[in-house]
Symmetry: D2
Subunit: 337 residues, 4 copies
Amino acid sequence: MVIVMRDNATEQQIKNAEQRLEKCGFKIHRVDGVTRTILGAIGDKRGIDMREFESLEGVYEVLRITEPYKLAGRTFHPDNSVIPVNGSAIGGDEIIVMAGPCSIESEEQLYTIAREVKKAGAKVLRGGAFKPRSSPYSFQGLGEEGLVFLSQITQELQMGAVSEVMEIKQLDTITRYVDIVQVGARNMQNFALLRELGRIKKPVLLKRGLSATIEELLMAAEYIMSEGNYSVILCERGIRTFENYTRNTMDLSAIPVVQSLSHLPIIADPSHGTGRRDQVVPMARAAVAAGANGLIIEVHHDPDHALSDGFQSLYPSQFQRMMEEIKTIAWAIGKTI
Amino acid sequence: MVIVMRDNATEQQIKNAEQRLEKCGFKIHRVDGVTRTILGAIGDKRGIDMREFESLEGVYEVLRITEPYKLAGRTFHPDNSVIPVNGSAIGGDEIIVMAGPCSIESEEQLYTIAREVKKAGAKVLRGGAFKPRSSPYSFQGLGEEGLVFLSQITQELQMGAVSEVMEIKQLDTITRYVDIVQVGARNMQNFALLRELGRIKKPVLLKRGLSATIEELLMAAEYIMSEGNYSVILCERGIRTFENYTRNTMDLSAIPVVQSLSHLPIIADPSHGTGRRDQVVPMARAAVAAGANGLIIEVHHDPDHALSDGFQSLYPSQFQRMMEEIKTIAWAIGKTI
Amino acid sequence: MVIVMRDNATEQQIKNAEQRLEKCGFKIHRVDGVTRTILGAIGDKRGIDMREFESLEGVYEVLRITEPYKLAGRTFHPDNSVIPVNGSAIGGDEIIVMAGPCSIESEEQLYTIAREVKKAGAKVLRGGAFKPRSSPYSFQGLGEEGLVFLSQITQELQMGAVSEVMEIKQLDTITRYVDIVQVGARNMQNFALLRELGRIKKPVLLKRGLSATIEELLMAAEYIMSEGNYSVILCERGIRTFENYTRNTMDLSAIPVVQSLSHLPIIADPSHGTGRRDQVVPMARAAVAAGANGLIIEVHHDPDHALSDGFQSLYPSQFQRMMEEIKTIAWAIGKTI
Amino acid sequence: MVIVMRDNATEQQIKNAEQRLEKCGFKIHRVDGVTRTILGAIGDKRGIDMREFESLEGVYEVLRITEPYKLAGRTFHPDNSVIPVNGSAIGGDEIIVMAGPCSIESEEQLYTIAREVKKAGAKVLRGGAFKPRSSPYSFQGLGEEGLVFLSQITQELQMGAVSEVMEIKQLDTITRYVDIVQVGARNMQNFALLRELGRIKKPVLLKRGLSATIEELLMAAEYIMSEGNYSVILCERGIRTFENYTRNTMDLSAIPVVQSLSHLPIIADPSHGTGRRDQVVPMARAAVAAGANGLIIEVHHDPDHALSDGFQSLYPSQFQRMMEEIKTIAWAIGKTI
C-alpha cells in the first residue's frame, strides 16, 4: 500500500499517518517527492480496508499495490487450474461448450434439444429449473421436477449438467442432480450464498455481475475458495453500459485480462451477453478467438414458443454451424473443441 | 405494446406476427407507415416478456407502452404513500433523517453515537449487525448481539431502528429487533429474499442496485408488494459510472423521477453514494433540495478507528451543522425536518 | 510516480526500469515489499505520459502521485479564482444565474425572454447562434444575426451575454458580441479549439464532456490556461450512464470535487443535465445546495414552438419560482444570489 | 413516430397533440389501449426533433419508429458499400489490415516499421502527423513533415496511407498526402469538421466516440454523407465504461450490429480499444471472428522508446504472428486477408 500525502500536509500529519499504519502492523518506508511525500506501507494485510486510511488528516490518496484476492490470483498459483467435468476438463487446451434451453419446460423439450446439441459437439447440457425473473409475474421454472429431467437425460446422453442456484435452500437439491452449480449475475455478490458454495464438492460456474469489475469477480471467486471449494469457473456475460442497442455489452477483453490475473478458467455467455439471436454467433466466435476456455449457449428447437429467452436462443442448425466455425478458430490458436 | 415491423417485412410476416399476438390475448391495431408497418397490441399482460416477440420473422423492434410494474406505479395509486415509522411518517411533508454508525461495534459505541444524532434531530438510528463485505477477510459484524444493542438503545432514546438483512435465514431475527428492514444494493435483485420481505409486517428500505435502472428498482419494489407488503421505502445510493474519483455517482435526478412514476417515498444515502466524508454534506443538502423524503447518513464519533466505513462517516459536529443547513433548505421547498 | 513491479520481476528487470526512469530525469527510491518491489520516481515531469513505463518488462502497474494539471489545480493557486463578468463576479459568494433560450430565433423572441429572466434575477443572458445538432437535417441557428440581437439586448438590459463557439473560424465573430464564450460538451477535447480560446481575452465557459472524467475536464481547462487565458468557468451538464430515463445523469458530486481540486468556479446546467423540463427545477435547487457557483438554464416563453430544446426549457413563471427557492437555499449555506 | 399519452390524459390533451402533429405534416392514427391512448404519426420528417413532442401536455413518451439516418442505413441501400483503397477494397470479402506507428517520429522510424508490416500483410500504413494529446505538455506530432514521409514511403512500398485530421485547416494538407483521412474519437461529433469531410474526395475513417452510441456513430457518418462523400469507413475503438482495468471496453458486438443497420464497412482498433499491448492480439483475433471488415493496429519496432503509445504498440514479430492467426480465422468464416 502506498499512502500519498497532500502537498500541504504538515510534518505532524505525516508522522500521525506513519504511526497509524505501524499500529496496523505495516513497516513504513517514507519517500519525500518534489511536492508530495509518500509512505510505502510494507506488509500483507488482506483483512484491512485500505480506504480507512483515506480520511486521515493530510492524506491525499491511498494506492493499493497487491491485489485483494489471494487464492484466485496467479501469485501463489502460477499454473492454470484445470477443472474436470464429467470426463472432460475446463481450463486446458480443450474448449468446452455448454448448451441447452434457458428454462427446462418439459422432458420432451429438454430431450429434443439435448440430442441436437450433443450431436453438434456440446459436452455439457444447460437448463434452468429455478429461474430468476425480473418480473414477479413471469414463468419461474419447473423446480426439482426440471432437475430430474436434466439428470436423467444427461446420464443417458453422457453429458455434464449445469443449472442455476438462486438461494441457499435450493443448494442441497441442486447438487444432487447437476455436475456444475451456476451462480447468476445478480447473485455474484450474494456473499451468504457464495460462502455456502464454498462448502460443496462440485464446481461452481460464477457469472460476472452486470456492473462488477474484473477485480470484484475475482473477489467473489475468492469468497467461494476461502471456504475450501477451489473449482470455480468464471463467466463473462456482458456488462451494463450506456449502449443499449444490445441488452448488455460483452467485455471480451475480460477474458485475456482474467487469464493474466488468475489461474481460474473463464468461459463466455454470448446469449445473455448480447440478448439477441443474430448477435450470438459472431460473439461466440469472437470469445473463442479471444481465448475463452468455453462457451455457454442457449439453444431451443422452437424459440418462438419458448417460455423464456426465446429471442436469444439459437436454432439447432445455427448452433451446429457455429460449432463448425469455432472448431477452425480454436485450431488457429492452438486449441481444440 | 407496439410491434414495429422491418421495412422489408412481407405481408405474410406481418400476418404471422398479428396471429401470434392475438394468440397471447392481444387485440391488434395495424398502422401502415411510410416505410414501416406497426402493430398496436392492446391488452394488459404483465406476465408476458415482450422481448419474446422481438425474434419473430420480420419484426424490427418491440416498444413497451405500459410500465411493467403495477402496484409500485402511480396509475392505480395516484396519491403518495405515507409510511409510519415509530411515531413519524416517511413520504409526507416531513423529511426523516436516519443516522448512525456503519457497523454496530459495541453497546458503548452505539449509545454514544445514538445520543449525538438524536440530539441533532435524527428520528431513526441505523447500525449494521450483519455486514456484506466484498472481502471475505474483513469484519463481518456482531450479529444478533448488535441487534440487541440497537433495540435497547432505540427504545431508551425513542428512536426508530433500521438494520440490513443479508439472507433469508436472518429475517426472523432482524424483524424482532428493528422497525425498518434494509435491503442492500447488492441484494436488490435477490428475488428470493424480496419475496420473503413481502411477507413480513415491517417497512422495507430498498436500496437501488449499483447498476439498476429506475425501472428495475421499481420492479424490485413490485416483487415485495406483490406478496402483500406495501410499506416500501426506496433509496438512491449512487450508481456505477465511468467516473471513479467518487466511489459511486449519486443519481439525484432519480429522486424526482421516482416521485413522478411511483407513490412510494424515496430517500438518499450520500454516505455510500459518494464514499468520501467531504462529499457527504454537500450531497445530503442537494438530495433534500431535489425533494428526497429522507436521508440515511453514517455518523461515527471516532471514524479513524471505526471497524468499517470510517472514511465516509461524519463526525457528530458535522452532522449537527448539516442538520441545521437542511432545515432551511427543507423550508425553502415547503417541507419540514 | 510509483512503479509497481510484478511479483516475479527479476533483479535485472528492476534495474532496467530504474535506469529507464533515471534517463527521463527521475530520482529513484526503491522499496522492497513482501511480494513486490516498488520504485518511487521523484521529479515533476508533466510532459511524460506515464503509461509509457507500463510496458517495460517486469512492470505490473504505474501509479501517478501528482495531478497532470498544474495551472488549474489548487497546489500553486490555493485561493478561489473570482472571474468578473459584466459587473458581477463568478467564483465568490454570489451565485450567478445565466438564463435564456436554447437558440436565438428572432429579436422579439430573445427580447421577450431576456426581460423575463432579468426580472427574475438572471445576470447573464444565454442564447445559441451557432447550434451543434446531432442531425444534419435540424435547425442550425441564426449565425451572426443572432449574435447582433444578443449583444443589443444585453446592452439595453445591462446583462452579460454568453454564446457557444463551435469552430475556430467563428471565434473572432463571437468574441466581438459576447462576454463569455461557451465551449460545448462535444468540443471539450477539441484541443485545437481549446488552444485558440487560450489566446482570447474573454472568459470561457467550458462544459464537461458527456464521458469526460473530472480530471479530463481539468486537463481541458489546463489547455486553455496554458496559452494564457486564466478565466475559465467549468460547467457540469450531465454524464452518460446506463440510466436512460433521464437524457444524462447529472453528476452533482463533481461540484464539491472540482472545488476541492481546483480554484476555478464551477456552475451547473440542469437543462441539458436532465433533458426534461420537470427535472430542471429540482436539479437546479440541488446544484445550488451542493455548492455550485452558478447555474445556466434554458427558458422559453413558448417552449411548444421553440426551434430547439423546447422540451427542456422552463416557462418564465417556473423560472421565477425557482429563483425564489434557490435564494433561500443559497442563504442556508452562506451565499447570495 | 408513436406518441404515448398518459393514463390520465384528457380528451382535450389528446386532441391538442393530434393537431400539433398534423401541423408538422404527420398523418395521425389513433389507438385507444386499455390504460393509454397512443397516436401513430405517419410521415417521414427527419428534420424534426421528436423530443419536442415530449413536453406537450398529457404526453407520456415519444417513441421513434424510423432511424434518424437515411444515407447511412440499409433501408435505401441494402447492399454493402465496398470502398476501394489503393488497389484493395474495404467492405467486401477481404479483411484489410492497416498498421504502423502511433506517431511518425522520423523517416527512418516510419520506413523500418512500414517494411515490417507490409511484409506481414498490411495493406495500409498508419502514422499520426498531428496528434491530439490530452496533455498540452506532450509531444504533438511532426506535422506536414511527417505526412511527406508517409506519402513517400507508402508510394515506394505500394501501400495505402491513413492519417488523422484534427482541425479543418489541416484538411487541405492532409488530403494531399494520404489515401484515407481519419477522424479521431474525440472529433466524432465535431460537426463543422464532419461537414468539411463531406466535401473531400477521399475515404474517411470515422472512429466511434468514447461514449457514442451506435446510432450516434451512424448519424456522424450521415453528416459526412449528407455533403456528398459516401466513402465512410466506421471504426470501433472501445467505449468508456466502469471497468478500468483496460483503458476502454471494446464493444465488439457493435460490429455485427452496425453491419445489420448500415451498408458501411466497419473495422476495429484493438490498440486504442484495449490500451495494453498484451490485450491487442486476442482482441484483434476476436474482432475478425466477429466479422470486422478490417483492423487498424499500432506497431513499433522499439516501443520502449516510442514518443507516444509505446505501451500499446505491438512488436513486429507479434504483429506477424497475429497476421498468421487471423488468416485462419478469416478462412473459418469465409473471408480472406
